[in-house]
Symmetry: C2
Subunit: 468 residues, 2 copies
């Protein structure tokens, strides 16, 4: 498995470069019609929206925040292109004054956000945007799609990492992700969530993620014999070769890999690993380990892939499979058991004051908020969801920081490595019950501060509250 | 619900323009290491790969082919950019000769493919690519992600269309799709599959899909009263307004909508529709219908949205809900019950002859293939999977056509409307059992021609066959 640290051509932690010039149009039509109406009625005044996940899927005890950096890059570069403006004009829906507002539109507001890799829970804001209503409104669709998707995959990856119990795993999802764009973002999120590498070359190039890869069965079949194929690959990629040994007979494939390893060792070449991709991975891995050890190759690692997820990996690890690393694809990149998060972006304050929704199951809390987290040495975790202007309770740290002020980043984008390390430290520090792969009941919930609870109670009794 | 036919800035049916110059790097690393090895060992000779879906998810009786046009555009424009080549060189994995081969690489081969909107089944090739092994190998990851995703969404949308039984439905999925790129492709595939419109502005602009949109609850809450909000919207978007009536109390919202409709009618403005987004849609729709009719507004349509899928819609339709159209989001754009298809891209022939895989559950058939379809007036359907050079059985039509010859399109990309109409005609012509929303047992299977079966039997006894 050739592993190599990528050199990024652009900024390591940023979204999709080069940007599509029309990406501001990746928005729901109603964001624009509402915005036009706000302009017409003098309502384009400061407002605050918060992005959060309403509730967690059954098998998610926590979220890993991700997709924040690409979202911030989107905000920072928000422009309606001449092509988009011409298209919108052609729709004959919008007044000239509104099109002019869009043509001049830049994001001029403030954003507070949690850092990528931070562990979060349902109801906790991942991002809070304040600015003129039109600016914060037209961003909704992109922010939800971007932060929702990457947070979903990073959270799934963190579970896979827990299952791996220290063994590395590689993102192999590109071919089954939801199109090429999703593949690029999934690799990024999987890396933050705990993957050690990706097979996706563009993700390596754009995000500086280490690349790994092996060979396909068609490669083995393209040579007259398995021995020829292994010999060719070992010599072509010296000291980095992972040989796929299940094309014909896995155990015989292991014997051939060992013989080829002996043969190329004379030239100073080392076979790094073998990969299993089918059959009973537990039994085969043990048998292959015996074959390799008996042939004098205890240093050749065994990798496994094929329809794996955190549960399959946890079972293999628990039962003592002789597997040193995993390739995880479809179920990681599509978050197969929960392929969406109920992520929402809600108005919490406008020029008329705090706003909230009261409908059963869709309740939200009014006002701009902060999350204060206390962790203790015994691993307990306590979050307080408070109004943004409340003082921090002693012994806590705030999860949201101001990352954009007046439309400009307050500091350069963080390196993706930092997010990955933050996730590792945060997940390791979670109480044991939240690190379980089984559904957690009751789910973790932040405490609501007294001031926030009081404001919510007042809002519930006031006008200006609605269903969602 | 303002509905408007988009003017595309580019070509209607084509993929993502402007293209990312580095998109050729959206490939798994092993495609490149294998390709390098093929070049080194003189194996860069003509080969044929076929893309197909191994088996259908439980709740898919058929597939709707989609994502073919963006895939062909990718092939036609395949280039490894200077940036990608510099990155690959920096990996220190590849010889100069291979990097030079990549720098000069263009797709020079032939592609046969089914038309978008065609109904297909498991095991039937959606696309067949023939060309020098390196060219067809490096395409694998992109083709699978592109065709697999859009086919998955178009197939889901076709089920939603069946459930709607003639009522229109709109793609509302953008915010919950797997990132912005997935949102753009999902809108395209949903339209082919049967959506009448999308809320996604960029999809309208790029693909000429009609746009629809309503308003959010936050819009209603941004005005002092619901009446103010409805009045403003109706006047701002005359004759195209859909009023969201469930922000406070749905039935009262309907009364207010009717009063606003009376009021603006004096100025020649017509309220087009109301939308329900929560609660018991069956009971509320009937009550709202009564309210609107009693107020003299039988012309105001009722639209519904909120966690809908084909089963929820079929139930509403069956039970006589007074709903004229649906908005369908998350479950459509993520194909929530089956968020991936087991789509594969398999070597079927190379310079040494036909190739096949024999592993249980992963069996594939050797040789380049064609699908011949016979449909009868009584609605029965019969597909024959045959070798590409076999004569067509009488009374059949071939599903695959040559769309790229020597690296060039044989005809301009088809308009998306054509694909949509083809899907409609094809699905309408299916046997009733395949139009059911319930799992179909046994699934439809193509007949295998005698010549193909004989070749497969010979391949099973020969060397050069492998696990997958």
């Amino acid at each position: 498995m050739p592993s190599t640290k990528g050199r990024a051509t652009g900024d390591l932690a940023c979204g999709e470069r080069p940007r599509d010039p029309d990406v501001a149009a990746l928005t729901d039509l109603y964001e624009l019609t509402m915005a036009a109406s706000y302009v017409a009625h003098g309502l384009d005044r400061p407002a605050t929206f918060e992005l959060f996940v309403r509730r967690l899927p059954a098998e998610r005890a926590f979220l890993v925040a991700c997709g924040i950096e690409p979202a911030l890059e989107h905000l920072e570069h928000l422009r309606f292109s001449p092509g988009t403006l011409a298209y919108l004009e052609g729709l004959r829906l919008f007044e000239r004054a509104f099109l002019d507002r869009l043509a001049a539109l830049r994001f001029t507001g403030d954003v507070w956000a949690v850092a990528e890799g931070e562990v979060c829970f349902a109801g906790e804001p991942l991002l809070r945007a304040t600015g003129p209503l039109v600016e914060v409104q037209v961003l909704e669709t992109f922010l939800l799609a971007c932060v929702g998707f990457e947070t979903m995959v990073a959270s799934k990856a963190a579970r896979v990492a827990l299952a791996c119990a220290g063994r590395p795993f590689v993102d192999f999802s590109a071919r089954r992700d939801h199109g090429p764009g999703a593949a690029l973002a999934a690799a990024r999120a999987a890396y933050v969530g705990g993957a050690s590498a990706t097979s996706n070359v563009l993700a390596g190039m754009r995000h500086g993620i280490p690349l790994e890869g092996t060979m396909a069965h068609s490669y083995v079949m393209s040579f007259p014999t398995e021995t020829d194929a292994f010999r060719a690959f070992a010599r072509d990629f010296p000291a980095r070769s992972t040989l796929l040994i299940d094309t014909y007979d896995t155990v015989e494939g292991a014997r051939i890999a060992a013989r080829v390893a002996d043969e190329v060792a004379a030239d100073g070449i080392r076979v790094q690993a073998v990969r299993l991709d089918s059959g009973d991975l537990l039994a085969l891995s043990r048998e292959v380990r015996r074959v390799l050890d008996a042939a004098g190759h205890p240093e050749i690692r065994i990798l496994a892939s094929g329809d794996l997820d955190e549960h399959a990996i946890a079972r293999l690890v628990r039962e003592g499979a002789a597997i040193d690393g995993f390739g995880v694809g479809t179920r990681l990149g599509t978050s197969a058991d929960a392929p969406s998060l109920p992520v929402v972006y809600k108005l919490v304050e406008d020029a008329s004051g705090p706003k909230a929704k009261l409908a059963p199951g869709k309740r939200s809390l009014p006002g701009p908020k902060q999350v204060h987290r206390a962790t203790t040495r015994d691993g307990s975790l306590h979050d307080v969801l408070a109004l943004a202007d409340e003082p921090a309770p002693p012994g806590t740290r705030p999860l949201l920081a101001r990352v954009i002020a007046g439309g400009r980043r307050t500091s350069p984008p963080a390196a993706l490595e930092e997010a990955r390390e933050r996730r590792a430290a945060n997940v390791a520090g979670l109480p044991a019950r939240l690190r379980s792969l089984e559904p957690v009941d009751p789910p973790f919930e932040p405490e609501v501060s007294e001031a926030l609870a009081a404001l919510a109670a007042r809002a519930a009794g006031a006008a200006g509250t609605g269903r969602r």
